[in-house]
Symmetry: C2
Subunit: 203 residues, 2 copies
DNA sequence: AAATGCATGTAACGCGTTACATGATTTT
DNA sequence: AAAATCATGTAACGCGTTACATGCATTT
């Protein structure tokens, strides 16, 4: 068993929703899971073959009138069982690498204004995502109102929303700090300290 | 230029603080940057050689009485210039992969109680980290009170603190949802909706 | 005497992305 | 006629971790 074979479980997992082709899987990753997961074709197609060889998924050659044939895969009961086992294991913490924070950490070496630009760009990005999540939330709630998946999917969205909001608040703080009156001065007037020790939000 | 050669810049960056050996670099990553960056020996040593070959760092064979010789590397002005250029480029968004959220997303397939265990474990983890960051914050503020790096380093910590707090709040929400009275029921009584649409915190 | 820490490195492996190859069908 | 979309796949490459190899010095 490979130490981080999460790819195969991501695929098995998506196939619990409905039988799909590799192409469909890719779309689902890009359109729905992109906030916390993604897979490329280079991963998906070989992995599907491997899963089929192990009997965890079954492939059906779906012949379509006119169009090229699709290879549609569906989860087998063995596959579902395998997935269930994996879901019971404590999630592995993902390796953390944040290029943005690395640049902040080294901010002292940056040219004047560079950090501010980065922060503003990041904040705009997070605000765009936040707006998107809220809209997606509404449509998911409507379209899957009766789905037993709903509460879990909404939890994922809620996570995204909370993270975006926290990031936006941090961006505001960061802007105050990197564009503060002082170009590279003594520590701010209690600013940083207060920020760090008090509860984060209150809108 | 490689598309994500952030490793070399992480190393150049740490060498702005002071000249270091590969061994020292590793320790710094593990002890200070671990929240947002890490490198293994397998990356550090070869990269250092590469950087030296390009004239971006200079190696000094520090002969020590008794102990084995250390290869200490220091940043050259060319290296500092290269770093500065990189700091000016917009940070690349890191590929997002969150095994935890993947399991939540597929929660419907999980055995009863599994998700709750995961969430509680995660919350405890985040609470431990939060406490740690607060302590580290105090000591950094004291020990580097006059360093021009202080404000940038505190910003990184502040980011960590905000993320930990947001994660903890989300964990509380998640526990309510996954351990709600209903085993796999109709959507909760407005619970999820309210959560998602209101401001996140109020402690 | 054994274990731990300092210190430097290499080799093998796995995961994942990117780019490439192919080709049909549908839309503009 | 060209461009976009559907659809499946492979090959090359890069990044990063893990495990291994070595050896001295210090602590237990």
């Amino acid at each position: 068993m490979s130490r981080r074979g999460a790819t195969e479980f991501a695929i098995l997992g998506l196939l619990t929703v409905e039988p799909m082709s590799g192409y469909d899987l890719r779309k689902h990753f890009q359109e729905s899971l992109i906030y916390f997961w993604n897979e490329s074709y280079g991963q998906i197609y070989p992995t599907l073959k491997g899963l089929a060889r192990q009997g965890l998924v079954a492939s059906i050659k779906a012949e379509q009138t006119g169009k090229r044939d699709r290879q549609v895969y569906s989860l087998t009961s063995k596959g579902r069982e395998r997935l269930r086992e994996w879901l019971g294991l404590p999630p592995q913490p993902q390796p953390i690498r944040n290029e943005f924070l690395l640049k902040i950490f080294l901010g002292r070496e940056a040219r004047d204004g560079a950090l501010g630009d980065h922060v503003r760009r990041l904040q705009a990005e997070h605000e765009k995502l936040l707006a998107m999540y809220l809209i997606i939330g509404d449509s998911v709630r409507r379209e899957h109102a009766k789905s037993p998946n709903l509460k879990y999917w909404m939890l994922c969205l809620s996570h995204g929303i909370r993270m975006r909001r926290a990031e936006i608040e941090w961006c505001k703080e960061a802007l105050r700090v990197v564009e503060g009156s002082s170009p590279n001065p003594e520590p701010q007037e209690g600013n940083v300290r207060a920020r760090v020790r008090r509860p984060v939000a209150r809108s």
